[in-house]
């Protein structure tokens, strides 16, 4: 379907999908950290693929991003990304909570592996909730991780949507870890395959 033909009802439905997915992801992160995790109200927006790389701010900002592909009734890509400092703070929290380790002496490969796994659990939790909602089956890829310029990371999104049109449908929400001296947050971005939206809307009865 052409993304420009979206109705408000359908965008609302996408927002609700984001809400349910992110709620489950926030719970998973909260359990892993034994801390409160706040979740912002999800947004669902159509964004020009040409504006994507600056959609979240300066494209040169260094971010850490975890990417997964999901194939099934509702095929999509998902990205969890954070400012690099936030990602490293999250890794510190996770090492301390799960293994009682301080940040000193932990090799970079291990830190990266922790980050990838946290991202993987957040995104898998998101997808599980969405698939329960629509009664669908899905398989999820192994997670890919990148530490790079935000613009380069978001270009992946632009090129996925660029193959079918000029707009990307972005459903995003922010998770923020509570009770800390510094703000540690990350964004979950859901990128439905254009072809999978009709199936999703059919199941949600907003086609």
């Amino acid at each position: 379907m052409d993304l420009r033909d979206f109705s408000n009802l359908q965008l609302d439905a996408m927002r609700e999908v984001g809400n349910i997915g992110a709620g489950n992801a926030a719970t998973a992160l909260s359990v892993m950290l034994s801390r409160t995790v706040d979740m912002a109200v999800p947004k669902a927006e159509l964004v020009s693929i040409y504006e994507l790389s600056e959609y979240y701010g300066d494209p040169l900002t260094e971010v850490a991003a975890v990417f997964v592909r999901s194939d099934g009734d509702f095929s999509c890509s998902l990205i969890f990304f954070q400012a690099e400092e936030d990602a490293q703070a999250l890794v510190d929290l996770m090492l301390m909570q799960q293994m009682g380790m301080g940040p000193e002496g932990v090799p970079d490969e291990m830190r990266d592996s922790v980050l990838t796994e946290v991202g993987n659990i957040i995104l898998s939790s998101f997808l599980n909730a969405v698939n329960v909602l629509i009664g669908g089956a899905h398989s999820i890829s192994v997670p890919g991780v990148a530490h790079d310029m935000m613009g380069s990371v978001l270009q992946v999104v632009a090129s996925i949507f660029g193959q079918s049109g000029e707009h990307a449908l972005i459903v995003d929400t922010t998770l923020a870890v509570g009770d800390l001296d510094r703000n540690v947050s990350g964004k979950i971005v859901l990128l439905p395959d254009p072809g999978s939206l009709e199936i999703l809307f059919g199941k949600l009865q907003v086609l």
Partner: protein, 162 residues
Amino acid sequence: MRTVRVGIAESGVVVNPDSVTTLGLGSCVGVTLYDERKKIGGMVHVMLPSTELAKGGDFNKSKFADSGVPDLVDQMVRFGADRRRLVAKMAGGAQMFSVGGSGESILKIGSRNVEACRKALVGLGIPIVAEDTGGTWGRTVVLFAESGILEIRAIGRAKNQI
């Protein structure tokens, strides 16, 4: 001295002493053309390999390798460049994420972009004198019309001039 910024799926041509830049190339490819005698440089920020992916006849030429590269040549000529003197450099075409399995094909768009740009340049008889492509990292690039040097910056890597 001015720096013209080219966005995703855009192009630009500059004359000495100006430069043209694009930020954060990931899977996209920055193709540059240069006429050394006239000191005219151009850049196109290609997003996808082929116009076969375009919907309808009215599309953004700079989005695709097979339309964006010839279009940049035409723009260079309009600025006074001689098409026989043009040489090309390119950068980008990275694979930012690797996930294995069926998801891998959509993430390999970078190498397909590089291949398509190369094919378009060969088809036009324009020599590719240098490139910094592939890998898994993003690149910010600047082409200086004064020298034809293409400067590539990436996080955690030494600055590269080609």
